[in-house]
């Protein structure tokens, strides 16, 4: 049994210590956002935030997370009260299949937490570990810029239908 803090809540986890965080999140805690993409740390789909930093959960064993704060996309907001980054991705319609998107959003979130006004070049450099196969990159970049703007203006009214483009 190990204590794991996820999205502000403590959980007692019954898993072997070498279990990658990804499986604990998905199976033990039934959280969907972090995705299995490669299990090799090559694609970014499994990215979550640990103590403010973007981390590849598929290659991070449980034993390294004792006493740390894990945040997943579920911890940022909900459909009815989306966080700025979630609102931005909805408003920019920044997904096709969307499988890679949760990971992208978590790294972008970590970036915006430490650098609220990143340049386009900084966003691109930050997202370098992430793969998107649908070719949604232009929208993802726009969404991160929009999220920065939303956080900056703290404009938190809910997303309205038809607001894309």
């Amino acid at each position: 049994m190990m204590n794991l803090k996820v999205n502000g809540h403590d959980h007692q986890i019954d898993a072997e210590p070498d279990t990658p965080l990804l499986y604990v999140l998905r199976e033990d805690l039934k959280l969907n956002a972090a995705k299995f993409g490669c299990g090799l740390g090559q694609c970014g789909s499994c990215t979550v935030i640990v103590d403010g930093k973007a981390v590849l959960s598929c290659v991070t064993p449980l034993l390294l997370l004792e006493g740390k704060q894990v945040t997943t996309l579920e911890g940022l907001g909900t459909i009815s009260t989306p966080a700025p980054i979630q609102r931005a991705f909805m408003e920019e319609q920044a997904a096709q299949c969307g499988y890679c998107i949760a990971g992208m959003m978590m790294r972008a979130q970590a970036l915006l937490q430490r650098n609220p006004k990143p340049t386009d070049a900084q966003i691109r450099a930050e997202l370098e570990p992430h793969l998107c196969r649908c070719g949604t990159h232009m929208r993802i970049l726009r969404a991160v810029h929009r999220a920065a703007h939303l956080m900056d203006t703290a404009e938190l009214s809910p997303a309205t239908p038809g607001s894309a483009r």
Partner: protein, 742 residues
């Protein structure tokens, strides 16, 4: 009507009165396609599933459900279909629920492929909705004893002249919608559209960006266990030895399954199944046989394999005079779909009935294959589509579904989730086939093309199931099913010869398809099929010929193109890009242009690009792209733009970086290190998509129309930047550097 009526609990709970019976009957009809055809046939998939209630269900409480046999693959069709139905039914967009591909609930619309969903299902839904609305108005007219002309519809109700409202739920009765569609519908005037033509936000995106359950990978059924397959190390490898004893003792392991060369392990928890897979893999000894062609000699190998040769187009005009003749050969390697999420499926066998949740593109054909593999009646197998990661064609989805079924059969009652590894997806998915094209053309004295010869060598572009032998599990089991004989996909859509016939008019034209039956590497459908390479070849060669003729590439294309819609997209893209005749790109940059109409019958797409080439390293960088697209009547402009943007970026990745690698025995590109694709440092500065809407004209599929033009446009821009023509895909940094240095 003599069809079995199955009332299950869901339906009893879902509806009221006589409606239940009619829907159960329509389900049965949707499954066996027994409905007799009427002549002339109604449009789209109504031709094969003509009952209105195969598409639309209106419950007595006013709830409306839309059924489509197509699958949401991230292309946004659920939203588009919902818009179409809302428009023609005159109901609020948000009031509709959409059910996608499910062998028990929806019509059999075959595969969700070929950019056909809007044409097939979108058209069926539009007409079914319009006819359902007419029936509802007719019923209100009957009750009021008024002519239908005096009634109108609004917001899910029929409105009488005196303001009296009849909700659709009140009007619908008995088997009102259990009627065959008429051949013609009274469709709304496009000028009055309120929902169609709007960029309605996609219905699936909110869950995807907030951690909602959105994919088959996210399914967690009660009591579900986790399975992993241990695939052979190479095609045709035989399992010679495997002692499962140690694996069976590992924590959480429930069962090791060996069936011939099919090897799998099931465990309670997912990471336990991964560890067990590793142990089982180590315990398995395989005998491998070298059989793969030499990769660096692939074009020659392909062209030397026996082929079935067909002249698919011929036009002769001996009066055309040829002055100068040029030839060129273009090649494409095997390429990977490379879904970001490896394939996954969940299966459960209960009392001899098998249910499989899968991200297949074809629940019905897949059901056929799986039933054959399990040697059970087709009716005992149900496939339900649940979204997966984007597939871009025939990836591991169908194989994973078969794997899950074969394993679940061994564990009666228990839901089994099978998740492929990254290495399995990369190593075992059926690749987009390698291709060779040889082109030869002549110019007359006026700089026009007088003769055009085009030959393409290719495997089939579809080995999709239908038969069990298309699935790995069925190929590997102890009583295996043979891989079905490959067949070319007939024209006008075509497979290897898709878009091989030029859209341009030349006095002499000769097009030959060399269909190669032998498949040394596992292949099947990948986005755009042969059109990717054929358009790359034609549009590259058009630029070579324009150069020879001393003509501007766009002007040269227009010189040979009659199709007015084609001319319009070319002009629109040129205008958006700021293309000027005789222009010169900035230092170390080039401008490129290309155009095609997908399959010569779907959407038109023209793409202009600016590419920068680093002369020291050879590295190409797509700086910007401007596209124009004509997809007929547009349903969701932002959805269409999203598809074209994606096509440009994905095709750029294929074109600049991608090639499946192998040695004489094994596939060696098995992850993202060994099969690199586009990353953010190569994403363009700007991508712009201009839509030419055609109100009231048929929907044209747009999901694949950008692949070929994007490739050729980039190749043409590289040639413009460097003065060197590259004809062998992918156009890597090394090839560009070598060409610059040559």
């Amino acid at each position: 009507m003599n069809v079995p009526v199955i009332l299950d609990r869901r339906r009893v709970l879902a509806g009221g009165g006589a409606l239940i019976v009619s829907f159960a009957m329509s389900d049965a009809i949707a499954q066996d396609q027994a409905a007799p055809a009427v002549a002339p046939k109604p449009p789209g998939s109504l031709a094969t599933s003509p009952y209105l209630d195969s598409w639309i269900r209106i419950d007595a409480d006013g709830a409306i459900t839309l059924f489509t046999g197509k699958a949401e693959l991230g292309q946004g069709l659920k939203t588009a279909f919902q818009q179409i139905a809302a428009e023609e039914l005159d109901v609020p967009f948000a009031s509709l629920k959409v059910v996608t591909a499910d062998t028990r609930r929806t019509a059999n619309e075959g595969y969700t492929s070929g950019s056909n969903s809007m044409k097939d299902s979108g058209t069926a839904i539009q007409n079914a909705a319009a006819q359902a609305r007419e029936l509802l108005v007719g019923e209100a007219a009957r009750r009021l004893n008024l002519p239908v002309e005096n009634l109108r519809t609004e917001n899910g109700a029929v409105i009488a002249p005196d303001g009296q409202r009849f909700g659709y739920g009140d009007l619908v009765a008995s088997d009102m919608l259990h009627v065959q569609a008429q051949a013609k519908s009274t469709l709304k005037d496009p000028a009055s559209y309120k929902v169609m033509g709007q960029s309605v936000p996609r219905v699936d995106i909110p869950a995807k960006v907030t951690g909602g359950a959105a994919y088959v990978q996210d399914m967690r059924l009660p009591g579900m266990v986790h399975a992993r397959v241990v695939r052979p190390p190479s095609y045709g490898a035989q399992l010679t030895e495997c002692d499962p004893a140690a694996v069976e003792k590992l924590p959480g392991v429930i069962k090791v399954i060996r069936n011939g060369n099919f090897l799998a392990v099931v465990a309670q928890k997912e990471f336990q199944s991964i560890k067990a897979m590793g142990a089982l893999s180590a315990a398995a000894k395989w005998q491998e046989t070298p059989g793969l062609p030499k990769q660096d000699d692939l074009p020659r190998v392909l062209a030397s394999l026996p082929s079935q040769d067909t002249t698919i187009f011929e036009r002769n005009d001996p009066s055309a005079v040829s002055q100068r003749t040029v030839e060129a050969t273009y090649t494409r390697p095997y390429q990977s779909h490379g879904s970001i999420g490896p394939s996954c499926a969940v299966a459960q066998s209960v009392n001899d009935a098998m249910t499989i949740w899968t991200h297949t593109q074809g629940v019905y054909p897949d059901r056929q294959g799986i039933a054959e593999m399990l040697r059970v009646p087709v009716a005992s197998v149900r496939l339900i589509h649940v979204e997966g990661s984007g597939c871009y064609g025939h990836n591991g989805a169908d194989d994973a579904a078969a794997d899950a079924a074969l394993i679940a059969r061994e564990l009666s009652g228990v839901p089994v989730r099978v998740q492929w590894t990254r290495e399995q997806e990369h190593g075992w998915e059926p690749f987009g086939p390698a291709m060779v094209t040889k082109l030869k053309a002549s110019l007359d004295g006026n700089g026009a093309i007088s003769a055009w010869n085009f030959e393409v060598w290719s495997n089939t572009h579809s080995m999709r199931p239908g038969g069990a032998g298309s699935m790995l599990a069925a190929q590997h089991m102890a009583q295996p099913f043979a891989v079905p004989a490959p067949k070319p996909i007939p024209l006008p859509e075509g497979g290897g010869d898709r878009n091989a016939i030029p859209i341009y008019k030349f006095p002499n034209t000769h097009v030959v398809h060399h269909f190669i039956a032998a498949m040394p590497v596992r292949v099947s459908a990948m986005r755009a099929l042969g059109a990717y390479h054929n358009v790359f070849s034609i549009e590259s060669f058009m630029d070579e010929l324009a150069g020879l003729a001393g003509a501007d590439p766009i002007e040269f294309r227009l010189r040979h193109l009659d199709d007015p819609r084609g001319r319009d997209v070319i002009e629109k893209a040129a205008l958006g890009f700021g293309w000027q005749k005789g222009q010169k790109a900035p230092q170390d940059r080039g401008f490129g242009f290309a155009f095609a109409r997908y399959k010569n019958l779907a959407a038109y797409c023209a793409i202009a690009t600016e590419v920068e080439v680093n002369r020291e390293t050879g590295r190409p960088r797509l700086v910007r792209a401007v596209a124009a697209v004509d997809s007929g009547q547009v349903v969701n402009p932002d959805g269409l733009i999203n598809q074209i943007e994606g096509a440009i970026l994905q095709s750029m990745s294929w074109t600049l970086y991608e090639s499946v690698t192998f040695d004489d025995t094994r596939i060696t590109s098995i992850d993202w290190q060994t099969y690199p694709i586009l990353r953010f440092n190569s994403v363009p500065e700007k991508v712009e998509v201009h839509i030419i809407n055609r109100p009231g004209l048929p929907f044209l599929g747009s999901g694949e129309t950008g692949q070929g033009p994007a490739a050729a446009s980039i190749a043409n821009a590289i040639a413009n930047a460097t003065g060197k023509r590259l004809r062998d895909l992918p156009l890597t940094r090394k090839k560009i550097k070598d060409a610059i240095d040559a």
